[in-house]
C-alpha cells in the first residue's frame, strides 16, 4: 500500500518483502478464493484509482481528467501480514493469475521481524538449501568383484536392529545370572521421527499412523513411528498398533500419566521408548505449544486443561549429569514395561555427542543413540536457533560410529541419524549415505510431511508457519476448519507410496554393492565425495 503520510523505519514497500505477489489483472475473475484462503491475510481486495488525461489531438477541446476506480488483489506490506510464499493462492486460483515470487535480493523484511524486541520465531526448517549428504556418492559398484544383485528380482531383507546387542558372552552371563537379556526389535531402517500429536494435526497424525499400520499389516514392512512429546491417543495406546509406535518422553512429560494409566490395558508393548534430550532444529531450547493450539482434544491427550500454554523446558529438570541422566531415565522407563521395551536417548547433533555415546556404551540398558542434526525441522523455534545452531549429522554420526569401531562395539549399540535426510528430495540416497557412514537407521520428519501431506516448506523460507496453527495444508493446525482439509486416508496412502519407493531406491543403491540380507551399516568404502577435506573428515574416498 502506498505510504502517503509519514514513513516509519519499518515502512516497507513490496520491493522489500521476501515474497512478492504477482497478480494478473487481465486474467483475474475476482472469485475471492485467493483472499479467502491466504493463511496470513497477506492479500486483500484493493480499491485503486486510475487517472486518464484526455487531450484531444489538435487540442481543439479543453483537456480533461477522467478518474476511474478499479479493483485488484493487493499485497499488504505491513510486516505483520507479509506474504509467506506458501502459494495457496496459486493453488486455488481458477485462472492461474496469482503467484508469489521470491525477491531477487536479500529482503528487508528480515530486519523488521522483531517488533517489541521479540526475535523472529517460526516453524519449518533451516533456511540453508545445501547439504553434504547430497554430495556423497556410492562409488563401490560391484559388478564382478562381488556377486552383483538385482534390485528388481533379488530378495532383500532390509531390516535393522533397535536395541542393545551385547557380546555373546555377556548376553549368556546376563541370561544365566539374571534371566534377562536386553530386548531388541528388528525394524525397518526408515523411521518416522518424533512429531507430536499437537505439533501435527489430528488428521496428519492419524494418516501417518494408519500408513504405518498398513505397511506392517498389509505389506509386512516393520515400519515404526515415534510419537514425539505430546502423549498418544488413548485408543492407540490400547490397540495392537501400539507395537508400531516408539513412545517419546521429553522434558515436559506431557501425556505420560495417560500412558501410565494405559499400561495395564495395553495389548502390545510399544516398539521402544525414546528419551528426548535435544532436537536438531533448536538445540538446547525447549518447546512451547501455544495456548491457542491446546484445544479440548490436545488437552485430553496431553492430560492438561485446555487453553493453557504448554512449555517443555530445554532440559529435564531432575537430571544433573550424563551418568545420572542416562541411568535414571533409562532405568525408569525400562521398569515401566518390565524391561521388555528398549529405551534409547535422542540428542541433538553436537560436538559433545561422543561423551554421551561413551557413557551409553558402558550402560547395558542403553538400546541405542539417536542423533538429530542441524537440518532437523520443528514446529516452532527461534529463527536463530534453526538457522545457526546445531551440528551437521554426517560427521557427527561418523565420529560416533568410528568411536564404536575403536572400542569394538559397532555391532552392539545402534546409532540412528536424523536431520535433513531427503531435504532435497533424495531420501534413499541420503539415508544410504548415513547408513554407510555408520547409522543403523534414519528418522525423517519434514520429508514425510512433504511427501505424504504436501507440506510446501522449503529451505528458501517458504511458508514456515507451522508455529501459528495456520498450515495451509492442515498438517500442523489444530483448527478443524484447516486440518479437515487433510484426509488421513490419503496421507496414509502416500506414506505407503513413500516407503515402497524408498524401499526400491534403497535396493537400487545396495544391490550393486552386493548387499541384500543385511544393511551396509558403516560400509564406508562404498562412499566417495568430491571434497578432499570432507573426505578426510568422514574417512571416505576422495573422488574427482
Amino acid at each position: 500500500m502506498a505510504s502517503i503520510g509519514t514513513i516509519a523505519p519499518s515502512s516497507l514497500s513490496r520491493k522489500d518483502l521476501l515474497w512478492q505477489i504477482v497478480w494478473d489483472k487481465e486474467r483475474c475473475a475476482f472469485c475471492g478464493r485467493c483472499t479467502a484462503v491466504c493463511p496470513v491475510h497477506a492479500i486483500e481486495l484493493g480499491v485503486f484509482r486510475k487517472r486518464l488525461l484526455q487531450v484531444a489531438a489538435g487540442m481543439e477541446t479543453q483537456p480533461s481528467n477522467v478518474y476511474q476506480v478499479f479493483y485488484g488483489i493487493r499485497q499488504k506490506t505491513d510486516p505483520a501480514y507479509s506474504c509467506i510464499g506458501c502459494g495457496t493462492c496459486t493453488l486455488v486460483c481458477p485462472n492461474d493469475c496469482i503467484i508469489p515470487i521470491r525477491n531477487d535480493e536479500i529482503d528487508k523484511l528480515r530486519f523488521h521481524i522483531n517488533r517489541g524486541g521479540q526475535p523472529r520465531r517460526r516453524g519449518g526448517r533451516r533456511n540453508v538449501p545445501e547439504g553434504i549428504l547430497d554430495r556423497i556418492k556410492f562409488v563401490r559398484i560391484s559388478m564382478l568383484t562381488d556377486p552383483a544383485l538385482d534390485a528388481g528380482r533379488h530378495e532383500f531383507e532390509l531390516r535393522t536392529i533397535l536395541g542393545r546387542v551385547l557380546p555373546p558372552e555377556e548376553t549368556l552371563k546376563l541370561y544365566k545370572e539374571e534371566g534377562w537379556s536386553p530386548p531388541v526389535r528388528e525394524i525397518y531402517p526408515l523411521i518416522i521421527g518424533s512429531m507430536s500429536f499437537g505439533a501435527l494435526s489430528p488428521t496428519m497424525w492419524e494418516g501417518l499412523q494408519m500408513g504405518v499400520a498398513y505397511l506392517n499389516e498389509e505389506l509386512g514392512m516393520p515400519v515404526r513411528m515415534c510419537t514425539g512429546e505430546g502423549g498418544c491417543p488413548p485408543r492407540l495406546l490400547r490397540s495392537r498398533f501400539m507395537k508400531y509406535v516408539i513412545l517419546q518422553i521429553a522434558s515436559g512429560y506431557f501425556g505420560w500419566d495417560e500412558i501410565i494409566h494405559a499400561i495395564p490395558e495395553m495389548k502390545e508393548d510399544p516398539c521402544a521408548v525414546e528419551i528426548k534430550y535435544g532436537q536438531g532444529a533448536k538445540p538446547g531450547d525447549g518447546g512451547l505449544l501455544m495456548w491457542y493450539k491446546v484445544n479440548k482434544l490436545i488437552a485430553a491427550i496431553r492430560g492438561v486443561p485446555p487453553g493453557v500454554s504448554l512449555p517443555s523446558p530445554p532440559t529435564h529438570q531432575t537430571l544433573y549429569s550424563i551418568e545420572e541422566a542416562v541411568a535414571k531415565m533409562i532405568q525408569s522407563l525400562y521398569m515401566a514395561w518390565g524391561f521388555r521395551v528398549p529405551v534409547y536417548p535422542k540428542i541433538s547433533g553436537t560436538s559433545t555427542a561422543l561423551a554421551v555415546l561413551n557413557n551409553l556404551t558402558r550402560n547395558p540398558y542403553a538400546a541405542g543413540l539417536a542423533i538429530d542434526g542441524e537440518d532437523g525441522g520443528t514446529g516452532a523455534a527461534y529463527n536463530v536457533s534453526m538457522d545457526h545452531m546445531g551440528h551437521p549429522i554426517a560427521s557427527n554420526i561418523r565420529e560416533c560410529y568410528l568411536n564404536l569401531v575403536k572400542v569394538g562395539k559397532q555391532n552392539e549399540i545402534p546409532l540412528f541419524a536424523a536431520g535433513g535426510i531427503g531435504k532435497r528430495g533424495n531420501l534413499a540416497a541420503n539415508a544410504a549415505a548415513l547408513i554407510m557412514l555408520g547409522a543403523s537407521g534414519v528418522q525423517i520428519g519434514k520429508y514425510i510431511m512433504q511427501a505424504a501431506a504436501g507440506c510446501v516448506g522449503s529451505e528458501t523460507d517458504r511458508c514456515n508457519i507451522c508455529n501459528i496453527g495456520l498450515c495451509p495444508k492442515g498438517i500442523t493446525s489444530q483448527d478443524p476448519r484447516i486440518y479437515r482439509r487433510l484426509d488421513p486416508e490419503k496421507v496414509a496412502e502416500r506414506v505407503v507410496d513413500v516407503f515402497l519407493s524408498f524401499d526400491t531406491e534403497l535396493k537400487k543403491i545396495v544391490a550393486p554393492l552386493g548387499r541384500s540380507t543385511s544393511l551396509p551399516i558403516g560400509m564406508s568404502d562404498a562412499l566417495g565425495i568430491d571434497d578432499y577435506h570432507a573426505a578426510e573428515r568422514l574417512q571416505i574416498k576422495y573422488v574427482v
Partner: protein, 776 residues
C-alpha cells in the same frame, strides 16, 4: 541313417584334455570338410556344437559322449542337432539361434538362457534360472524348452518370449515343479506345466486356460519331445489335459501391482475395527472430522464478514472536542434533510456558527480521513456558517436539578445550554453585563462578524437566566451557592494575564487588556509595537495593533512560535515580524531590551504569554494543581458537588471549553438521574478501512453543501452505495429493509466464502472480516 559317416573327435588325447579352443577348431574343420555326423568325446569343453553355419542348409548331427562343459550348443544354428547322451552343464543352449538340443540326463543352471530360436529337450530336471531372458523373434518360430522333470529356482526370470514345457515327471521336488520365485520380470512367452507349484510372480504373469489350439500343439509336440528323449511310453501318462496348466506373461497393459487392500478398505476393516469408530480420536471428539474442501462456506469459513455500521466514531467527530458528529450531518444533507443537518449542531454547541464557522481551527477537518490521505478535507465551516439559522431544539420542561454556573464564557454557556436541553435549570453568574466571556471580550471583531456572534448570543440569552454579579464571589457566597444548588460549575476562565518578572514590566500592557481595549478602539499603540509571546493571541494583538495604526510590529518568543492558522496568516499578512529565540531582559522607555543586548524599539509593549485562572475564592475542598483546578474525566473536582470546565482547568480552544461543558452536563444529568456517568466508549474507525480512492483527488469540496456532502467518505456509516452487494463473488450480500426506512446489509453464510472482498471494497469501512467462532 545308412549313409552316416561318423567323425569322431576326442576330448582327451594322450591323457591330456583338449583345450576348448582346439576342440572347437576341430569340430569346425570337420564340418567345413564335409562331416555331417560328428561324435564328440567331451571332457568339460566349452560351447560344444554351436556355430556350425559352415554346413549351410545341410543338417549336422553332433552326438556328445562324456562330460560336456558349459554352454553346450551356444549360438547353435538351425541346421544343428545336438544329442547329449548324459547330463549337461550350465547354460545349455545359451543364445541358441535354432539348434535342437537333446539331453538324456539332467541339466544344471541357466538352461536356455537368452535363447531365441531352437529347441532344448531335457530328459530330466534342470537347475536354477532356466529359460531366463529368452526371446521370440517374429521372423522365426519361438524357442522351446522341454523339461521332463522339474525346474530349479528363479525359472523364467525376464523371460521375454518362447515356450517352456515342464512335464513334472519324477520331479526333484514333488511339491513344486516350478521352483522358488519363477517368472519375475517375465514379459513374454508361455509356460505349460504339470504338477504342483508354490507361486509365481503375480505382477508379471497369470494363469490362463489351455485352449484347444494350445492343447493340440502341446500333445503333438509332447510326442515329438518324448520320441527325441526316447521315452515315447510316457505319452499316455503325460497327455492328460486336466493335469496341465498354463502360465502366460501379462501384457504391459495387464501389469498389476500386487493386489492389496485399498486404504479405505484397510481403514474400515482393520484400522477402525481395532480402534473403534472414528479411528484414533473417535472417542475424544464429538464433531465431524471428515475431509472438507479448501474453500468453504458457512460454519466452516475461517473468517466471516461483519457489517459494523456506526460501530465506530468517525475521525471528524472523534477529533472535535465538542464531539459534533460531522459525518452524520453530511449524511443528512445527502439524504436531502438539510434542515435537520443544520439544526443537529445545536444539540452539541450553542455556537455552531461562531465557533465552527469562524473561530475554530476546525480539528474535525484536520482529523478528516481525506486529510490523512492527502486530499482536501470536507469543509465544515460552510456547515458551521449555515447553522446561524439553526432552530434550537424543542426544550423539555424543567424537571431536573438546579445548577449554578459561575462564568458566562463559552464553557459556562455550553454547560448551561446542555443542562437546559436536558431539562435542568442552570443559572449563570457572571461579572459582566453581557454573556460571552472571551468571545465578546478579547476576540478581535475582524475574526467574526458581529451579527453572527450577536445572533448566537441572543439564542443563548433566550434560554439561560443570567445573574449579573457586581463583584467577585467570596468564599462564603460560593459556599452558599453550593447549598442553594445541586451542583456548582466553575467556568471562570483564565482572567489573570501572566506577566514577565523583568524590570520595567509595568510599562507593558497585557494582551488581554490590549484586546479588550482595542475592541472599543480605546487604545492607540503608536507606530512601533513589540509583542512578547508569538502565539495566536499575540497574532491577534498584532492585527489589532495594525488596525489601530501601528506600522512596525514585532513578535518575539523564546522558542519557535506556536501560532498557527488564520491568526498567524493574518499577522504575517500585515507585515508582522516573528523573531525567536529572543529573551527579554528588561522593558525600558525605548522598548524591549533583550539578553543579547539588542534593543527592540517600541511605543507599545504587549505581553501575550497567556493568562491564568484566579483561584483565590474557590473552596478548599476543590484541589488545585499548578495554578489550575484539578478535575476527573467528567470535569468533576475533588468536591463532588463542584465541577470545573474551560480555561480554569486547562488553557485551550473554544471548542475544548464547549466540549468540556457538554461532558460535564452529561455527567451531572446522569448523576441527577441516579446513574453513574459514562463516556462515549466507541473507538475511532481505523483510517485504512476508508477508501478515499473512490473520490477525485483534484476536486476540493466546497460550496454548495451538497458537493461537500458527497465528498464526505462517511467513515463508519453506510452510504448504501451497493458496492458490497455488487462485488461479492458469491452473491451472498443483500440489503434487508427495516422499520422506518432503516436497513442493514445481510450475509448469507451458506454462500459466503469469507474472502473479505466486501471489506476491501467498502468505501466507508463498514465491513470487517473477523475470525469465525472457534470450534471447541
Amino acid at each position: 541313417m545308412e549313409s552316416e559317416q561318423w567323425v569322431k573327435i576326442e576330448g582327451i588325447i594322450g591323457g591330456y584334455r583338449v583345450d576348448s579352443r582346439i576342440l572347437e577348431e576341430r569340430i569346425q574343420e570337420a564340418v567345413a570338410s564335409g562331416a555331417r555326423f560328428i561324435e564328440v568325446y567331451a571332457a568339460g569343453q566349452h560351447g560344444i556344437g554351436g556355430r556350425l553355419w559352415r554346413a549351410k542348409d545341410e543338417n549336422v548331427y553332433v552326438r556328445v559322449i562324456g562330460s560336456p562343459g558349459q554352454r553346450l550348443g551356444a549360438m547353435g544354428f538351425p541346421n544343428t542337432t545336438i544329442e547329449v547322451m548324459g547330463p549337461v552343464s550350465d547354460d545349455v543352449g545359451w543364445l541358441n539361434a535354432g539348434a535342437t538340443i537333446i539331453v538324456h540326463g539332467n541339466a544344471t543352471n541357466g538352461a536356455g538362457n537368452a535363447m531365441a530360436q531352437g529347441k532344448i529337450y531335457i530328459a530330466g530336471n534342470i537347475g536354477a534360472r532356466g529359460m531366463t531372458m529368452t526371446k521370440h523373434n517374429p521372423r522365426f518360430a519361438p524357442p522351446e524348452l522341454w523339461v521332463l522333470g522339474s525346474v530349479g529356482d528363479y525359472f523364467a526370470e525376464f523371460m521375454a518370449g518362447g515356450i517352456a514345457v515342464i512335464c513334472g515327471y519324477q520331479p526333484q521336488d514333488p511339491e513344486n515343479v516350478l521352483g522358488y520365485r519363477p517368472c519375475v520380470g517375465m514379459v513374454g512367452g508361455k509356460i505349460f506345466f504339470r504338477g504342483p507349484h508354490k507361486g509365481y510372480s503375480l505382477p508379471d504373469a497369470k494363469l490362463v486356460p489351455i485352449d484347444d489350439e494350445s492343447w493340440i500343439w502341446l500333445i503333438e509336440n509332447l510326442k515329438l519331445f518324448l520320441e527325441n528323449i526316447k521315452k515315447p511310453d510316457l505319452f499316455d501318462v503325460l497327455a492328460k489335459r486336466s493335469d496341465w496348466q498354463l502360465i502366460a506373461a501379462r501384457s504391459p497393459m495387464e501389469k498389476v501391482l500386487l493386489p492389496r487392500k485399498s486404504m479405505h478398505e484397510f481403514r474400515m476393516v482393520v484400522w477402525e475395527k481395532e480402534l473403534g469408530k472414528g479411528g484414533l480420536i473417535g472417542d475424544l471428539v464429538t464433531f465431524d472430522q471428515s475431509p472438507i474442501p479448501i474453500i468453504t462456506t458457512g460454519f466452516l469459513r475461517r473468517y466471516v464478514p461483519v457489517w459494523e455500521n456506526r460501530k465506530y466514531q468517525p475521525p471528524c467527530e472523534a477529533s472535535c472536542p465538542t464531539g459534533i458528529p460531522v459525518r452524520d450531518r453530511w449524511q443528512l444533507i445527502r439524504e436531502g434533510r438539510i434542515d435537520e443537518a443544520v439544526d443537529l449542531a445545536l444539540a452539541y454547541t450553542p455556537f455552531p456558527a461562531t465557533v465552527c464557522g469562524y473561530l475554530c481551527p476546525n480539528l474535525c477537518m484536520k482529523g478528516c480521513t481525506r486529510t490523512a490521505q492527502g486530499v482536501a478535507p470536507v469543509d465544515t465551516t460552510i456547515l458551521g456558517k449555515a447553522s446561524l439559522s439553526a432552530k434550537p431544539p424543542k426544550l423539555p420542561p424543567i424537571t431536573g436539578g438546579k445548577v449554578a454556573v459561575i462564568g458566562g464564557g463559552p464553557a459556562g454557556i455550553s454547560v448551561a445550554w446542555q443542562l437546559r436541553l436536558k431539562g435542568h435549570e442552570p443559572v449563570i453568574y457572571d461579572m459582566r453585563s453581557e454573556l460571552g466571556g472571551k468571545l465578546t471580550e478579547v476576540i478581535p471583531p475582524s475574526r467574526i462578524p458581529q451579527e453572527v456572534l450577536d445572533a448566537e448570543l441572543d439564542r443563548v440569552r433566550k434560554l439561560i437566566p443570567h445573574v449579573h454579579l457586581q463583584q467577585k464571589l467570596s468564599k462564603e457566597e460560593f459556599e452558599r451557592l453550593k447549598l442553594d444548588y445541586d451542583f456548582v460549575i466553575i467556568a471562570t476562565g483564565a482572567q489573570k494575564p501572566r506577566m514577565l518578572p523583568v524590570p520595567g514590566i509595568e510599562r507593558a500592557i497585557s494582551a488581554r487588556d490590549f484586546l479588550r481595549r482595542s475592541r472599543s478602539n480605546d487604545i492607540s499603540p503608536g507606530e512601533k509595537v513589540v509583542i512578547i509571546g508569538a502565539g495566536n493571541v499575540g497574532c491577534d494583538v498584532a492585527t489589532e495593533a495594525f488596525r489601530l495604526g501601528a506600522k512596525d510590529i514585532t513578535l518575539i518568543d523564546i522558542q519557535e512560535p506556536a501560532s498557527f492558522g488564520k491568526e498567524r496568516k493574518e499577522a504575517e499578512a500585515i507585515g508582522a515580524k516573528f523573531l525567536w529565540p529572543r529573551f527579554t531582559k528588561a522593558i525600558s522607555e525605548k522598548g524591549v531590551e533583550l539578553s543579547s543586548g539588542e534593543l527592540l524599539e517600541a511605543d507599545t509593549v504587549v505581553v501575550a504569554i497567556g493568562d491564568q485562572p484566579e483561584l483565590e475564592n474557590i473552596p478548599d475542598t476543590v484541589a488545585k494543581d499548578r495554578g489550575f483546578v484539578k478535575v476527573n474525566e467528567y470535569y468533576q473536582t475533588t468536591d463532588p458537588k463542584i465541577f470545573a470546565i474551560g480555561d480554569v482547568v486547562k488553557l485551550g480552544l473554544l471548542t475544548e471549553a464547549i466540549g468540556a461543558g457538554r461532558i460535564a452536563a452529561e455527567a451531572i444529568d446522569e448523576i441527577l438521574k441516579g446513574k453513574r456517568p459514562r463516556r462515549d466508549v466507541r473507538m475511532v474507525i481505523e483510517r485504512g478501512r476508508i477508501k478515499s480512492e473512490y473520490f477525485d483527488p483534484r476536486l476540493a469540496p466546497g460550496v454548495p453543501l451538497e458537493r461537500c456532502a458527497n465528498a464526505c467518505a462517511s467513515c463508519g456509516s453506510c452510504r448504501d452505495c451497493g458496492i458490497c452487494i455488487t462485488i461479492c463473488p458469491q452473491g451472498a450480500i443483500s440489503k434487508v429493509e427495516g422499520l422506518k426506512g432503516s436497513f442493514e446489509m445481510a450475509v448469507d453464510g451458506e454462500k459466503c466464502i469469507g474472502c473479505g472482498f466486501c471489506a476491501g471494497a467498502c468505501p466507508c469501512g463498514i465491513w470487517n472480516l473477523v475470525e469465525n467462532d472457534p470450534i471447541e
